[in-house]
């Protein structure tokens, strides 16, 4: 059912308006997003930017006010059950049956996923192992910490071995160890050719694992694409940054670097030379690297945080 373009998620001018007695809120205001297959895609924006509304529409928990959305080639309104057969979701606000054990919760949810008993028997220990909860399999969820519950939530999303994993604020409540486990897991998942959509406002925690992103603000997409695509405009406006690793005796190199046309800053810190330039000087640096036997030359990409601030012209708000 995948389209020719191989986008796992495609939305077109999606609008979501919530109405209540106090008026109406436009949570999504003409959102058009394309998520390519096999990437780690970030949905970045502050609280209230429309991330959770978008995800809820994608899996059929909510209906759009207007516009269209397709996931894995299926229409989000008419074929949402087909989407839910193939998508693993970790929602932002969720809960487990607390009087039931981790295993019993997964058994129940796995049965609702349509997994046969034999497969569940094999799969449950696997996913619990993946998230580091194997020894807690038969403990009641009531006694779980926030971090353990978040791990279990990730386990339930992985249970059906989905084609697409949608994670809404996945690192909320995780300790640094849990966050590291989580990053490793999603990267492994993508290596299998699958797609992960991560929605977060904690760019510094999880954003850097994403290779592509859509930046949301007040229900609108302010930019989207791969890190390289989005960094291009940033670099053109803010300049290019590079890092050269040297092995001592770099005075001559430093002098040469300062003389390169367009270079605005050169600094040496612990055998690392940082260079900033108003234009792309990658070619010149490669020539110098060969001449001075530089250990490595890395063009620095801006962080997602920097990109977000650049595209929206300020901080989160």
């Amino acid at each position: 059912m995948m389209g020719m373009a191989e986008y796992v998620i495609e939305t077109e001018n999606l609008v979501k308006v919530y109405r209540d007695r106090s008026g109406e809120v436009r949570a999504l205001d003409g959102v058009t997003v394309r998520v390519p297959k096999g990437v780690l895609f970030g949905l970045f924006g502050p609280n209230g930017s429309g991330k959770t509304s978008l995800i809820s529409i994608l899996v059929g928990l909510q209906l759009p006010t207007s516009g269209s959305a397709r996931v894995l080639g299926y229409d989000c309104v008419r074929e949402s059950i087909e989407i839910r057969r193939r998508v693993g979701l970790l929602p932002e606000n969720y809960g487990f049956y607390e009087y039931m054990t981790a295993r019993e919760n997964l058994e129940y949810l796995g049965k609702l996923d349509g997994l046969p008993a034999q497969e569940l028997k094999r799969r449950i220990p696997e996913v619990l192992e993946l998230v580091g909860l194997r020894e807690w399999a038969d403990a009641k969820v009531k006694g779980f910490s926030r971090g353990m519950t978040q791990r279990l939530a990730l386990a339930q999303a992985l249970l059906k071995d989905p084609e697409l994993l949608i994670l809404d604020e996945p690192t909320l409540g995780l300790d640094p160890q849990g966050t590291a486990m989580f990053k490793k897991l999603v990267e492994q998942f993508v290596k299998l050719g699958k797609t992960v959509l991560i929605s977060t406002h904690l760019l510094h925690e999880i954003g850097h694992v994403c290779t592509h992103a859509a930046l949301l603000r007040k229900g609108k997409v302010i930019a989207q694409g791969s890190l390289e695509e989005l960094a291009k405009a940033y670099r053109e406006a803010k300049g290019y940054s590079y890092e050269l690793a040297v092995a001592g005796g770099a005075e001559e190199l430093l002098r040469e670097l300062k003389g390169v046309n367009g270079v605005t800053y050169v600094g040496l810190e612990n055998d690392l030379i940082k260079v900033r330039a108003g234009r792309d000087i990658g070619g010149e640096l490669a020539e110098l690297a060969a001449k001075y036997r530089i250990r490595s030359l890395v063009p620095l990409a801006p962080s997602w945080d920097e990109l977000y601030q650049f595209y929206q012209g300020g901080g989160w708000e």
């Binding site: 929602p91 809960g95 949810l109």
Partner: protein
């Protein structure tokens, strides 16, 4: 996967959850206690009737059945409410609904599963508590009970299930509609209080306003007890009962009482039960009203739940 497979998965989980819950067993315990307490209360009356040598064995059983019906009038709705008020609202509060609805499950499967579980749990609770309490009550009062009496008492499970399901449907609708389970519980309890305690008072008040006070009858100390009331007083109470019954036609608890009492109807001037089919055929309206409550509020629950968007 079969059509109802997902609903059955939900039902099995719901049944297991309730069988492990204190709330469910507390209601069954309350039921048994209420039976026993009622039996104690009627003990004097039963002995009194025996002493006066009026009525027969069946009349003694009638006293017992009245207490059972009374107990069911209070407890069966509470059982329905206990199972219904949190059915959807509590899942929303706990956030489990987002994990469940993120699965390939139709929303009506979720309600179907909860309904199947509710029917099973209601039948089990009523049957179990009746099976525990009635023999106990019979033994305590030393009543001579025939197999026909036991059959009639056992058949009470059916109208009691209808009553419990009517209140289950009401509170399920409240649960689907309300944002919080506490709101659903309050609405359900208010309806229960209204139908059980307030509507009978309103009905009596209206009947009194329409008919005025009963006619004054001179006291006749020579008329033996139970020999019947004067004709004009009988007419007054017949009309009074008609007005009260008309007003209480919409009350599920009143309809249950009427239907349940029909199970123990005796043939005129006899100690023998009326044919079940004959007795129940006269009370089809009670079945219809209870069935209407169940159908209307279940359909309303489906419609609201299918349209409702889970925004939290």
């Amino acid at each position: 996967m079969g059509v109802m497979e997902k609903a059955l998965i939900v039902a099995r989980k719901e049944i297991a959850e309730n069988l492990k819950s204190i709330r469910y067993w507390a209601i069954i315990g309350l039921f048994v206690l209420l039976y026993i307490a009622s039996t104690y209360a009627i003990g004097f009356a039963v002995r009194g009737f025996r002493g006066l040598a009026i009525g027969g064995r069946a009349r003694t059983v009638l006293q017992l059945s009245n207490q059972v019906v009374n107990a069911l009038t209070y407890i069966a709705p509470l059982l329905g409410i206990a199972l219904g008020f949190g059915a959807i609202a509590a899942e929303r509060e706990k956030g489990t609904i987002r994990l469940v609805l993120a699965r390939p499950i139709y929303r009506d499967d979720l309600i179907n599963g909860k309904l199947i579980a509710a029917v099973a749990l209601i039948v089990l609770a009523i049957a179990l508590s009746t099976a525990l309490a009635v023999p106990l009550a019979v033994a305590m009062q030393n009543v001579n009970v025939t197999s026909e009496d036991f059959t009639r008492l056992a058949l009470l499970v059916l109208p009691a299930t209808l009553l419990a399901l009517a209140f289950y449907a009401l509170s399920l609708f409240a649960s689907v509609y309300a944002g919080r389970s506490s709101h659903a519980l309050v609405v359900s309890l208010v309806l229960w209080i209204f139908f059980t305690f307030i509507l009978p008072i309103i009905a009596a008040f209206i009947a009194f306003q329409i008919l005025g006070p009963p006619p004054a009858i001179p006291f006749n100390a020579t008329r033996p007890f139970g020999q019947g009331l004067p004709r004009q007083l009988q007419e007054y109470f017949t009309r009074y009962n008609q007005v009260v019954s008309s007003i209480q036609l919409v009350s599920p608890t009143a309809r249950f009482s009427s239907l349940a009492s029909a199970l123990f109807a005796l043939r005129p001037q006899s100690d023998v039960y009326e044919e079940l089919a004959t007795a129940l055929a006269r009370r089809w309206i009670d079945v219809a009203v209870l069935a209407t409550y169940i159908a209307v509020f279940l359909i309303a629950s489906y419609i609201v739940f299918l349209r409702r968007q889970e925004t939290r």
